[in-house]
């Protein structure tokens, strides 16, 4: 009796999760499989030869790949740290404001609502050395003597794309943090205040622990999104100057569609996927352990 209803229950359960699995198989796993398979081929236009792991060997012995990986890691780390810090900061700021909460929240969410490529195009202009508003304002206020080449010099270009990506990426984190802050029970703050904790200690011992789960989720999603992000750097610097902003997605795009070496590009993609997967699993496990 019990086992048949249990089996029936299982079957119903499968029915519920079947649609999404079918969808994933068709629309996601096929292209993924294709990408894996392509990484084992040397592709020349419409013909290809099986070369096993030769593409991987080529990629891993290419300086350009390691340089790109370094830039990607630096870019992702800076961006995610800034997203989390500023996102949390803004959430704390907005949480304490009484007036016009919704309007402010929408206002701070706006960068997220515009397509990244459009946002990047606008910033490209704002940072233009001769005609851009940023230089104009900085010179007018006397903050700098001569217009800066925001995207023309390696260090500045890197900083600029990180800044623009921060502009793009903070709203999402802020939203998650705002939600999280609202669930922290008042009593915990009151108890801490009674124990004589100051603002910083209240933040450290009440706010942060309560937000831990959200912080882990937000940072994992953010890392995955940022490390594969192409639009902002693609539009603003295309990886220049002199490779200072050439992150892996840019290298991949150039290899695939400028170099027409699809096999190699697929290998780069798979390597990137492996790196991100490893990171995500470690990250999640580390967060679990601490719990």
């Amino acid at each position: 009796m019990r086992s048949s209803s249990w089996t029936r229950r299982r079957r119903v359960g499968y029915a519920f999760i079947a649609p999404v699995f079918l969808f994933l198989c068709a629309v996601v796993l096929f292209p993924l499989g294709h990408a894996f398979y392509t990484s084992l081929l040397r592709v020349r236009g419409l013909s290809s030869t099986f070369v096993g792991f030769a593409n991987y060997a080529r990629v891993l012995t290419d300086d350009a790949f390691w340089h790109s990986l370094g830039v990607s890691l630096a870019f992702t780390t800076s961006c995610v740290l800034l997203h989390m810090a500023i996102g949390l900061g803004l959430a704390l700021l907005l949480d304490g404001l009484r007036f016009a909460r919704t309007a402010l929240r929408i206002a701070f969410l706006t960068p997220w609502m515009v397509a990244p490529a459009v946002g990047a195009t606008i910033w490209l202009w704002l940072l233009e050395p001769q005609f851009g508003v940023v230089n104009y304002l900085l010179v007018a206020w006397g903050a700098v003597k001569a217009p800066l080449a925001w995207l023309g010099e390696p260090a500045l270009a890197f900083a600029s794309v990180v800044a623009v990506d921060t502009w793009r990426g903070v709203p999402f984190v802020m939203l998650l943090m705002l939600a999280g802050l609202q669930t922290i029970p008042r009593e915990q703050y009151e108890a801490a205040a009674i124990d004589g904790a100051d603002a910083w200690q209240r933040f450290r011992y009440v706010t942060l622990p309560n937000l831990r789960y959200l912080l882990v989720v937000a940072s994992t999603l953010d890392v995955i999104n940022t490390i594969r992000h192409y639009d902002i750097i693609g539009v603003m610097t295309a990886g220049g100057p002199a490779g200072a902003t050439e992150v892996l997605p840019v290298l991949l795009y150039n290899t695939a569609f400028r170099g027409n070496r699809f096999g190699e590009a697929a290998a780069i993609g798979v390597l990137l996927l492996a790196i991100v997967l490893a990171f995500s699993l470690l990250h999640i496990r580390a967060a679990r352990l601490e719990r």
């Binding site: 419409l46 217009p147 995207l151 010099e153 610097t237 002199a242 569609f257 170099g259 027409n260």
Partner: protein, 418 residues
Amino acid sequence: MRNIRKLAAAVACLACVAAAAQQPIVLQWQTANLTESQYEPVWKATIAEFEAANPGIKVEPVLVARKDHWTKFVAAAQAKKAPCIVTVDLTTAAYNGYLMPLDKYWNAEPQEFRNAWSPAMLSASKWKGQLYGLPIWGGTYAEIYNRDLVTKAGLDPNKPPKTWAEYASWAKKLTGNDQWATAVLGGKTDTTTRVLLMWIWSNGGEAFNADMTEATFAKNPKSLEAIKFYLGLVKDGVAAPAPTTTNYLEQTNLFAQQKIATMRNAYWAIAKVNGDNPALKGKVFVAPGPANVPNAPTLTSVAASSISASCPNPEAAWKFIKFDAGKKWTVERAKVANWMPTRNDMADDPAFKADPLLAQFVTIGNNARSYPLPSPIWAEIAANDIVDAVQRALLSPEKTEEIFRDLDAKVTKKLKDV
């Protein structure tokens, strides 16, 4: 009675068959220029007239942003569903098997049609001896000057600089308060490479060996000298700052806003300049770029119409390509979009005689080398490797020779790998 009925049935049957046979052939046409706003009325008219003259054929334009044109084409070509008529980087596309050879259609044409294109022009559209495209238009590069700024600096617009030395002295005089003589292109597009090549050629140097298996940017001393001179314009202060982010668009903006007095560009830039700053209409003059050797060639980028390998109706596609390459549309393109003819029988056309600037560009274009250079990996070399070297050299000028030696090695390796 029965005979009439039989006749009616036969006629009805024939009509059915005829109707079925009348399914129009649909040709897709993809070129990055379809999204150029000034060209729009011309291509719409081209399609309309062609369809009117060929009732069984419809031409469907595929609009795509220039920067994504190749990506879209390749995605479709890989699935054997590329548009029939395309204008793409010919050598690369042919090498990858995306295009159909056109020799059999070309050879079937009457001699007088074929005479309109010189062998030199056609060779730009050949790969391994086969013709893969019909050249439709080109862009010839020359040095474009702002007449007002030149006269203000006390220079004679009728005597533009012919040698590097003259150019250098002009450049010094044209640099002043919030104004520079010119702009060095160092942005991450292949226009950077185009201008660099012209400077190399103007010194009698070569960037590659004859059969494109070796790069000689640093190997050829004349090339290296040219690179140092051209990139050195920034160091000398006569070129606008931030060259590593200067592409065609930024350069033309600078010229239109009168921040630079001269630019190395093609005729199409003038339309943009006039659009942005109507006060400059008629105030530009043109001359070949300065050179240290006699008869230094300039550069003409050639765009050809090709038929993709998977096209099910190549005869119809060839019909359209021929139509589009005709004199009428050549003139329209030149007038509206400033694209130069590739035909050699246009010199007497009144449209070309009426516009002195256009005539000058045509004359300058008579001594030009075609671009892109014939290598199947040109897209990558031109837009990635060479640009990377230029950017590095602009950021560390003292390392120029070393940087270009590295470029030679890297590119030669890639060329040998093809």
